[in-house]
């Protein structure tokens, strides 16, 4: 079930597509010109609503509906493009920008027109220095060509796009933390409500969308809703760019329509090309590090929002990590939680202290080889104390690796305890007595 036409990763093979002229020659910026000259902003919003486009950042919220939340008559409005892409295992945004920046800029410009914003910011992860330069060059070309700036194409529509590079904090991918960071403050999530659509950047109505989401918009406008809906499934139309990594033969970005089974992504010679050395699949993390794990039993699940949710996981950002039977589940959980501990902003107690505690305990069990049966109970209870009680989703995500590992591979933790007791591992007393 190959894809005849790429939507998001279109024209990546064309040489110099990052150049304005080349992109324009291949029909680029046409959707934008068409929208500005022949459609009203409301038309575009309706189109996106009808297309059923869902946010690709992780939550899968319908984009058109989100745009509809903007309060009427409140200006200025801002469009933010979230290119913080710091979810471990996800790397498609980077490639889109690197190869075809104009597609994103056109998407941003179109969306800004649709929501009547005159300023758009593209928030780049700090490490994406080269991509940011590519993007800035492309934006300069678009200004030169009169597609950005004042009174675009004589329609009276003004738009400025700025690229802002963050300082490399995972939390800044969270929409409100991103806004704080953009405003020059310490990157920490804000209290919701108010939601960004009501009071976002600088307290003004703000729409924030992922790179991949916005990259979809030009094609929807260009080819129409019906064409778009012909891809993917009923509830998840369109395609998704999966970042495949781990123990597969061909890791990389693959654009697939929604609903393709996981097995095809991993095993099809066109995509993953099967497991390295033919070893069996042990763990599949389908949506970046914050998604609950799947096992080989789930290989036939179609890759769309609903099916993965039904299987107890989530599509997330589409970063599929496949691990074979050589890895230890506690170790994977430890490494992932180490990441979350490092990235916890510290604002709320459960995330700040919980991740620290999880990592310390796992470190002792996995790295130092001192594990007790009580440690397993402690791990269970820490993640339960965190789950659902954190300020933002980072804390909730941090729970996922350890929760999955404990649920799917409890025997591996028990084995750690056995190993430890056979070596007469020390018992660290809780209270030091004299």
């Amino acid at each position: 079930m190959g894809l005849t036409e790429h939507i998001v990763m279109r024209e990546l093979d064309i040489p110099d597509i990052s150049d304005f002229a080349v992109y324009r020659r291949h029909g680029g910026w046409e959707a934008y010109r068409y929208a500005l000259t022949e459609k009203t902003p409301a038309d575009i919003v309706q189109m996106v609503k009808d297309s059923g486009l869902r946010g690709r950042g992780g939550a899968g919220f319908p984009t058109g509906v989100k745009w509809g939340f903007l309060p009427k008559g409140v200006y200025p409005r801002y469009l933010l493009c979230n290119c913080d892409e710091s979810e471990p295992g996800t790397f498609n945004n980077h490639q889109i920008i690197d190869k075809n920046p104009h597609q994103l800029i056109e998407g941003v410009a179109l969306s800004a027109y649709a929501i009547e914003a005159n300023v758009a910011y593209i928030y780049m992860r700090g490490e994406f220095a080269a991509a940011a330069r590519t993007l800035e060059r492309a934006i300069a070309q678009a200004y030169e060509a009169g597609f950005l700036g004042k009174n675009i194409l004589g329609t009276g529509f003004d738009l400025d796009i700025y690229v802002h590079r963050g300082a490399g904090a995972y939390i800044c991918g969270e929409e409100t933390a991103l806004m704080e960071s953009l405003e020059g403050k310490i990157g920490q999530p804000r209290l919701k409500p108010p939601f960004p659509a009501v009071a976002g950047l600088y307290g003004k109505p703000t729409i924030i969308n992922n790179v991949e989401t916005l990259a979809n918009v030009p094609r929807i406008v260009e080819k129409g809703v019906a064409w778009y809906r012909s891809h993917g499934t009923e509830k998840s139309p369109g395609t998704k760019c999966f970042s495949l990594s781990g123990h597969v033969n061909r890791p990389g970005n693959y654009e697939l329509p929604f609903g393709v089974p996981l097995r095809e992504l991993i095993e099809s010679p066109e995509y993953g090309g099967g497991m390295k050395g033919g070893r069996p699949v042990k763990i599949i993390i389908p949506g970046g590090a914050s998604a609950p794990w799947l096992t080989a039993d789930h290989l036939d699940i179609p890759l769309d929002y609903e099916s993965l949710a039904a299987a107890g996981s989530m599509l997330g950002s589409g970063g599929v990590i496949v691990l074979n039977d050589t890895v230890s589940a506690p170790y994977v959980a430890y490494k992932m939680d180490e990441f979350f501990k490092h990235e916890s902003c510290g604002k709320c107690t459960p995330c700040r202290e919980g991740t620290h505690w999880l990592v310390r305990t796992l470190h002792r069990m996995v790295e130092e080889g001192h594990a007790t049966a009580a440690d397993i109970d402690t791990l269970h209870s820490i993640y339960r104390q965190m789950a659902g009680n954190c300020f933002c989703l980072l804390g909730e995500s941090a729970v996922m690796p350890i929760k999955s590992a404990l649920q799917l591979f409890p025997h591996e933790f028990e084995a750690l305890v056995k190993r430890s007791s056979s070596r007469n591992g020390h018992q660290i007393p809780l209270i030091v007595r004299h």
Partner: protein
Amino acid sequence: MSDVTLTIDGVQVTVPAGTNIVDAARQAGIAIPVFCYHPRLKPVGMCRMCLVQVGTPKVDPATRQPVLDANGQPVIAMMPKLQTACTTPVSPGMVVKTTTEEVRFAQRGILEFLLTSHPLDCPVCDKGGECPLQNLTMGWGPAVSRFDYNDKVHFEKPVKLGDLIYLDRERCILCGRCVRFQDEIADDPVLGFDNRGRNWMIISKSDPPFNSKFSGNTTDICPVGALTSSDFRFKARVWELQSKPVVCTLCPVGCNLTLDMRHDRLMRVMPRENAAVNDIWICDKGRYGHRFIEAPDRLTTPLVRRNGKLVPVSWDEALEVVADQLTLIRARHGGQALAGLAGPQLSNEDLYLFQKLLRELGSENIDTGIGGPAALPPDEIGGWLAPGPNTDLSKLGSGTVVLVIGADPEEEAPLYMLRLRGIAQRGGKLVVAGLRPTKLERSATQVVRYRPEGELAFVQGLLKAALEHSSRTATLERLAGWKELRAALERVSLNNLATACGLTVDGLNQLAKDFLTASQSLIVYGWEARSAGPALTEALAALMLLSGRTGTANNGIIALLPGGNSRGAIEMGVRPDAGPGYTPRKQRGLDANGIWDAAREGKVRAIWLAGVDPAAKLPVARAALEAAEFVIVQDLFLTASAEYADVVLPTASVAEREGTYTNAERRVQRSRQACAPVGESRPDWQIVAAVAQALAMVPIGGGRNGPIPVTTEAWSYMVAADVGNEIAAQVPGYAGITYAALAATGTGGSWGRQFDDAIYYDGTSYTNTEGVGLVLPALASKGTVNLTFTGKVTRFADERPMLLLEQVLAYDGDRHLRGSKLQSLIPRGYAAISADDAAKLNIHSGDRVRLISAAGEMVIPARVLADVPNGIILLPAGLADVMAAEIETGPRTRVNLAKVVTE
């Protein structure tokens, strides 16, 4: 706002819309534990301690009607996740559950998490015993920790945040209360966060660190021992303290304090809740500036000069000397040869008896303060037009217009800055007008910066514009001088006035209209406004009278005068021209400057100084004291003036006696005794009464000036309340202000101190059970305003290019600050000039400059400040090493500025 009814743990409670669940539960008597939430701060939901289950009535999307179950009860849709009660506003029909197993598990979990990085060093921690983390752990926390102690994060500690506050980063639970207090309430955003995750930590962003006059309050609201006061570090355990209610006398706000004593020693000073005065805050001057009480150099015995040296004597001996000398001088030279000056930090009782005795002896030479070129006549306007009873600035918001003119509340009366800022935050209009920027400006809704000496034009412009909008001139017509003022106003055009002050005619009109049409309007003025001359404050008084609301609650004029009880001193009649309660005297006595002149001429022969130290500041006073035949100094310390004294009488400090004090809003508050007086010192009123008793016993008669009209019976006051009762009976306006009445105003207090209510942790501020004081009935409300429009403006001896203004500083050379941690914050003397003026003369900060006026010259280090307007020199005259009297020709002085060039 409309009310909302909801159910919390099965209890129905009705609260105003917009209330959050924590506060609603509190009203229902249900405890929801909190750390980061504070009722005075915006909720942030960071600590996650207040997680509860919340449900709302299910609504049928089709009909928009609540779905009902079989019993006709609305179906409640519980939210899938626990919600933070502090950030969730109530909604009609909401159901909250705070005791379910799920909630308990979450709360226990949060506490366990908090304790994992807490060092648990309670035995050495100063917060131990009043610590919410301790209390909530006992109530909600796990019994044991499963966390390995070796996994804790340790930081080097303590970190000194300035000289007043220490930070312990291990104990910090990162609730951000201190950061939010500094941002939202104190408007000194000097604290912030750094780093992230487990290394997230509080830092100070200012230089010097934690540069705020309200820093001590963060230690009160800190829910752990992370922020501790350097003043109380490791001094005592809180359960050993006895809390004594007193009133702060260091500035005219009159904050309610609690002195925490152990074994009669002062351990710490804490705020005592009084919503109408200081809420639950106090400034650092009040918190740290009370160490004078136990200064080692306090006077402990009376001293009498014998053979040129002051020697300790008994009270009987000292009183005998005083009585004999006063009798003798009075007999020889008459009552007019006696004079008395009292300080503005004395209590009403002291001041009342002081003037009473001197007047009975036939002297009208009574004044407050020390005189000097910058001395101003007693401020009557702030008394006649003070806000009426039930004034409570904490209730004001939208609909209020506050006009702050020529005042720097942050320095003159720090708590007023918070209260005025609060009015603006709640939606009131705060207009801050002045010659130079002040911190309050940052909170203002409108800032007026008139050009130097344009303030009179500004106020007259406002008055002229107001006259066009208001016809309530009946009261004004009766006042002397009004016709002349009105005529003068008619002669100038609004346009000219607007040009003179640098505003537009429309601006003046709009401001006058706002002021008159507001539902409450207040005027606050301070030293800068008063130094322009009486004409300015008189015009403000006329403006206030035009509003027609004078004398009612929350309407009136608040004058920020120096000292804690200056209003009381004026009302008790410690002034040469009027007796208690603004009743004019037939014969006018000498004011302080008159006394100095008369003493040098030999007309005044005995000078009694109670709580003032003129010799430290005034050369003219030194000469006068030298010339005087008999000088009594009654003080806490052996002051510079004591060198000229014949008798020195030790007085008890505010902590060692009872008394009442009248603050800038004319609120009378009662202060209690916290400890025994040091040595043999006595309260001032007792000393005055004892002197009177001794006078009555003097065997010789009064000579040709008549017998001493003082009898033992009339002066037999046993306790301060006796004097208080006499004041209530005798002083116009003070009827009913007895000690009993003042004590009866005590409230149970909504602000539980730790001990009362472990759960609702609002800080360590104490419940006020000892009285919140009474605002005196307004004098103006009876329509008997007795003001005179003199139209006087401050004149200069000659014309020179620069205008010298005295600057009031909170931390100055006040001898009450001795021995306190504030000493290091008191600057050395300087003259502040603008950057432009400095550039013209090539002056840099630290260069020595010469100020030359008609009166003399002085050399002083310059300080170049960006926010001083050109042409103005600010001189902090209160600093010990600034002898402003050497160059001043009046409240304001024109000077030449020159750089001192040294080879």
